[in-house]
C-alpha cells in the first residue's frame, strides 16, 4: 500500500462554534480534466479528505488529503489495471480511531488509522479467482446500538453471459474495538434469486423480540461488464429491477444466514435504493428513512444523449461520469414494530413556479439529527443533456418527458421525520438550493449544525434550524485540483467526528 498526503489551510470566513471541535471526512474521486478521456467514474483515483476544525472567529481549518495507491489509475503506469482490492471514493464509516472507507460498488473497505492518517489494511474476506477478479461490498455499514460491531456484506463478482453476477455472498461482522472479524455465508431470499442484482449499498441493524437483525438495502445495480468499456459505444442496457430490502437474523450458532424480504418495499416499484438513516433505539423494530435514486447506478455517461447530441457537441459531457436519474426519486419512512409496518413517502417533481415545495430528483444523503426531530435530505437534481440515450431506452416507460424537463438544481431540505413533510416556514429556512449533496449533521440538539461541502464551493456551516444563513465558509483552490486532475464528481458523503 502506497500513501501520499498533501496538507494546506483553508481560508475561513465567519466563525467555527466550540461544539464543532473535531474533523470532517470526505471521500473524493479524482479524474483527468480532459472530459473526452473515458474513465468509469467508479474506478477513478480515490482520495480521502480530512478537514480538521479548530473553533474560533474565524477559527482554523486544515485539510489533509490522503491518496492510497495513486499509481493504479495512471494511464501511463505499467501497473494500471482494471480491477483493484479497494478504491475508497464513496462511503465513510467511523468508530473510535478507525475509518473504513468504501467504493460505491467495487472492492473491499479500506481501514484507515485516524490518529496517524495512514491506511492500515483492506477488509477483503472473499477470495478472488481468475474468473472472479473483483469484489463488491456494502458502502455504508450497519452498526449495532452501542457501535461495538459493524456489519457489511461482501461478494465476489464474475462475468456472466450478459451481466456480472454476485457469488459467495457473506456477511462480515467487524469488532470495532479489537479489529477481529467473523463471517457468515449469506443465502438469498427464495423470492429474490437473481444474482446479477445482489448488491447492497447500505445496511442497518435492529433488534426485535430480543433478537438481532441486519437489514440490507438490495440496490440491484446491474453491471453488464466487469471491466470498463474498451470503447465507450452505445450498448444494450439490462434494466434494473425494483430494489428491495433483505432482512437477516444474526445468529452466532449458524454458519449460514438466510435472508427474507422486508414486506412492502419491492411493491414501491422504484430502483436504486441506496442510502438510509435508522432509529432502532426502541430495541423492538425500527424507523427507517431511505431513498430511491431512480437512476441506473451501474451505468456511466457516454454516447449520444437524450436529445440526439453527440458528446463532442456537449461541453458539459464528461465521458464515464456518474449517470443522471431517469426521473425524480423517492424518500420513504418505514416504521416497523411487533412485526407490523407503516409506510410514508415523499416524491416530487421540480416545479419552478413553486420552488418552496422542494423536489426529490436524485436523492443522495439522508440523516437524522441527534435528537431525531429533524431529518435532512440532499438531492443532486438533474442535468438533462447528460442522460445517455442508450440508458433512457432501457427505461422507456419511466423516463422523464425530455420535451418538458430542464435543469433541476441540487437541494438540501429539512423534513419533519414523523410525517416526512418538508419543515415549511415563511423564511425558507428549511431548504437550500444549489447546495452540494455532501453534508454532515454535527453537534447535539437543540444546538446542532449542518456542514455542506464540495471542492468548488468549499465548506459551509449552518445551524440546523436555519439553512438561510451561513455561519462559516471556508475555501481553498487545493480542494479542487490535484495537479492536472480535478475532483469529480462532487463527493457524495461527509462525516463529522470528534477527533
Amino acid at each position: 500500500m502506497v500513501a501520499e498526503t498533501q496538507s494546506f489551510d483553508l481560508y475561513v470566513r465567519g466563525s467555527i462554534p466550540a461544539a464543532m471541535s473535531g474533523s470532517l471526512f470526505v471521500a473524493a474521486a479524482r479524474r483527468h480534466k480532459d472530459r473526452s478521456r473515458f474513465s468509469r467514474w467508479h474506478d477513478s483515483q480515490a482520495d480521502l479528505i480530512r478537514l480538521d476544525l479548530l473553533p474560533g472567529k474565524p477559527g482554523r481549518i486544515r485539510a489533509r488529503i490522503l491518496s492510497v495507491d495513486p499509481w493504479k489509475f495512471c494511464a501511463n503506469s505499467k501497473s494500471a489495471r482494471p480491477f483493484y482490492p479497494f478504491q475508497p471514493n464513496h462511503g465513510l464509516n467511523i468508530e473510535g480511531d478507525s475509518l473504513w472507507a468504501t467504493n460505491l460498488l467495487f472492492g473491499a473497505p479500506l481501514e484507515v488509522d485516524l490518529r496517524t492518517w495512514k491506511p492500515r489494511r483492506s477488509l477483503a474476506e472473499v477470495p478472488l479467482r481468475p474468473d472472479a477478479p473483483q469484489l463488491s461490498s456494502t458502502s455504508h455499514f450497519a452498526f449495532d446500538l452501542d457501535r461495538r460491531y459493524a456489519y457489511f456484506h461482501e461478494s465476489a463478482l464474475t462475468q456472466g453471459d450478459r451481466t456480472v453476477l454476485a457469488e459467495n455472498l457473506v456477511i462480515v461482522r467487524l469488532d470495532t474495538k479489537t479489529g477481529t472479524k467473523r463471517t457468515w455465508d449469506l443465502q438469498a431470499p427464495q423470492d429474490d434469486p437473481a444474482a446479477e442484482g445482489h448488491n447492497f449499498h447500505s445496511a442497518f441493524y435492529f433488534e426485535e423480540a430480543g433478537k438481532p437483525f441486519l437489514g440490507l438495502l438490495r440496490t440491484g445495480a446491474i453491471v453488464e461488464s466487469l471491466a470498463p468499456h474498451s470503447v465507450p459505444a452505445d450498448h444494450d442496457v439490462v434494466p434494473m429491477q425494483p430494489s428491495t430490502i433483505w432482512i437477516v437474523q444474526l445468529d452466532d450458532s449458524r454458519s449460514t444466514l438466510v435472508a427474507t424480504l422486508l414486506p412492502g418495499i419491492r411493491q414501491l416499484g422504484a430502483i436504486a435504493l441506496s442510502h438510509l438513516d435508522v432509529d432502532a433505539s426502541s430495541r423492538n423494530g425500527f424507523v427507517l428513512y431511505a431513498n430511491y435514486k431512480q437512476a441506473d447506478v451501474a451505468e456511466e455517461t457516454h454516447g449520444e444523449n437524450l436529445y440526439g447530441e453527440q458528446p463532442a457537441d456537449v461541453a458539459e459531457h464528461y465521458s464515464g461520469m456518474i449517470v443522471e436519474a431517469i426521473n425524480y426519486g423517492m424518500v420513504f419512512r418505514y416504521h416497523r414494530v411487533n412485526g407490523q409496518y407503516s409506510l410514508r413517502s415523499f416524491s416530487r417533481a421540480y416545479d419552478s413556479q413553486r420552488t418552496s415545495l422542494g423536489h426529490s430528483w436524485l436523492p443522495i444523503n439522508i440523516e437524522l439529527n441527534s435528537s431525531r426531530n429533524r431529518l435532512f435530505c440532499s438531492f443532486a437534481g438533474f442535468r438533462p443533456r447528460l442522460l445517455p440515450r442508450h440508458i433512457a431506452r432501457a427505461y422507456r416507460d419511466a423516463v422523464v418527458d425530455i420535451h418538458r424537463i430542464r435543469h433541476v438544481p441540487s437541494l438540501l431540505m429539512r423534513f419533519d421525520p414523523a410525517t416526512l413533510v418538508p419543515d415549511f416556514d415563511n423564511q425558507r429556512t428549511y431548504l437550500s438550493y444549489t447546495e452540494p449533496v455532501a453534508f454532515a449533521v454535527a453537534g447535539d440538539a437543540p444546538n446542532d449544525f449542518i456542514w455542506t461541502f464540495s471542492p468548488e464551493t468549499g465548506l459551509k456551516l449552518y445551524r440546523s434550524h436555519d439553512l438561510s444563513q451561513v455561519l462559516c465558509h471556508a475555501v481553498s483552490p487545493y480542494l479542487m485540483n490535484w495537479r492536472d486532475t480535478h475532483f469529480r464528481p462532487d463527493p457524495a458523503h461527509m462525516v463529522f467526528a470528534h477527533t
Binding site: D9, L10, Y11, R13, G14, K33, D34, L306, Y307, E309, V314, A315, E316, A349, D351, S352, Q353, R354, T355, S356, R383, P384, R385, I402, H403, R404, I405, R406, H407, V408, P409, F424, N426, R428, S432, Y433, T434, E435, P455, E456, K460, L467, S468, Q469, V470, H473, V475, S476, P477, Y478, M480, N481, R483, D484, H486
Partner: protein
C-alpha cells in the same frame, strides 16, 4: 439579463416603484414562489457572457481580478450581475494589465482561440449604472422594476451567495446597434472591470449561469502569484507557466485556456422556465 424597461420618467417612475413594492410584498408573503408573481419571470431571455479573458493576481493577502468580458445579447439594454464579497473593491478603471501579460506571453489572448475568432466583430462598450444588492428583496425589486425578470433556478444561486454573506453587484450595458435576432446577437466587449478582496488563498470565479444564448464560455485565464504556485484552475487545463514582469515586479504565471459549460443548461429548443408551464 435583458432589461425590457431600462428607465422611465418622473411621475411614472414613482408609480412603478409603488407597484413594484406591492409585487414584492406578494412575493415575500408566498415564500418567493414565482407562481404568485408571474411577472417576475424573464421573457425571451437571450444574453450571456460568451468569453472572458481574466488576469488573477494573488499576492498572498489579496485577490485582484482584471477582466475583459465579451457578452452577447438580443435586445437594447442588459445587465451583468455577479456575487462579490462584501469587503470587495469593484472598479471600472483603465488598465493595461491584460495586454501587458499577453505581450510578454507573445499571445493575442482570446484571439488565439478559433472558437473566439468565429464570433466575428465585437463592439467595445462601457458599463454604467453600477448597483449593489444586499438582500434578495433588493435584487428582486430591481429585476421587477426594470422588467428584467429572472428565473427561479437562477435566482436560487444568488440566494445561496447572499446567505453566505456575499453581495450582488450589477452593471448595465448597451450596444450601439441592438440585435433582435438570436442567431446574430450583438457582441459586446467591456474591459477594465476589476474586483479586489482580501483572502489568503486563490479564489476562482463561479461558472456563469446559462442565459439562453451561449451554453459554453470561452476562457483565457492567467494567474499571477508573487511566489511559485501549484494552484490549478477548477475546470481548465494548464496551457503554460513561467515568470513575467509587470511594472518592474516579478510574478509567476500559470495560464489556463479552454471552453467550459455554463451552469443550468437545458436541452436544445427547450424553453426557459416560464409562467405558462403546467406542472
Amino acid at each position: 439579463m435583458a432589461l425590457r424597461r431600462p428607465s422611465v420618467e418622473g411621475p411614472e417612475f414613482a408609480s412603478l416603484v409603488r407597484q413594484t413594492n406591492d409585487v414584492l410584498a406578494r412575493l415575500e408573503a408566498n415564500r418567493f414562489d414565482f407562481a404568485t408573481v408571474p411577472e417576475l419571470f424573464a421573457k425571451d431571455a437571450a444574453a450571456d457572457v460568451i468569453a472572458k479573458e481574466i488576469v488573477h493576481v494573488h499576492d498572498g493577502k489579496t485577490m485582484t481580478r482584471y477582466g475583459r468580458l465579451i457578452m452577447g445579447g438580443v435586445g437594447s439594454h442588459f445587465n451583468l450581475m455577479g456575487p462579490i464579497p462584501p469587503n470587495a473593491r469593484l472598479q471600472i478603471t483603465p488598465t493595461t494589465i491584460l495586454s501587458d501579460v499577453n505581450r510578454q506571453l507573445k499571445s493575442k489572448g482570446l484571439s488565439d482561440l478559433p472558437e473566439y475568432r468565429k464570433l466575428g466583430n465585437v463592439e467595445e462598450i462601457e458599463f454604467f449604472n453600477y448597483e449593489i444588492f444586499y438582500t434578495l428583496r433588493d435584487l428582486a425589486f430591481w429585476l421587477v422594476l426594470h422588467d428584467a425578470g429572472s428565473f427561479p433556478s437562477s435566482l436560487e444561486v444568488m440566494v445561496r451567495h447572499i446567505a453566505a454573506g456575499n453581495i450582488v453587484q450589477s452593471n448595465q450595458y448597451s450596444p450601439r446597434k441592438p440585435s433582435r435576432n438570436r442567431k446574430q446577437p450583438a457582441m459586446m466587449a467591456a474591459g477594465c472591470l476589476s474586483v479586489s478582496f482580501p483572502t489568503s488563498v486563490v479564489e476562482w470565479m463561479d461558472k456563469p449561469i446559462f442565459g439562453g444564448l451561449a451554453p459554453d464560455t470561452i476562457h483565457v485565464e492567467t494567474l499571477l502569484t508573487s511566489k511559485k504556485s501549484g494552484v490549478s484552475h477548477p475546470y481548465l487545463p494548464l496551457q503554460r507557466e513561467g515568470k513575467l514582469t509587470l511594472k518592474g515586479k516579478s510574478y509567476y504565471y500559470r495560464r489556463f485556456v479552454g471552453v467550459t459549460p455554463k451552469d443550468g443548461l437545458r436541452g436544445p429548443n427547450i424553453k426557459a422556465e416560464n409562467a405558462a408551464d403546467k406542472y
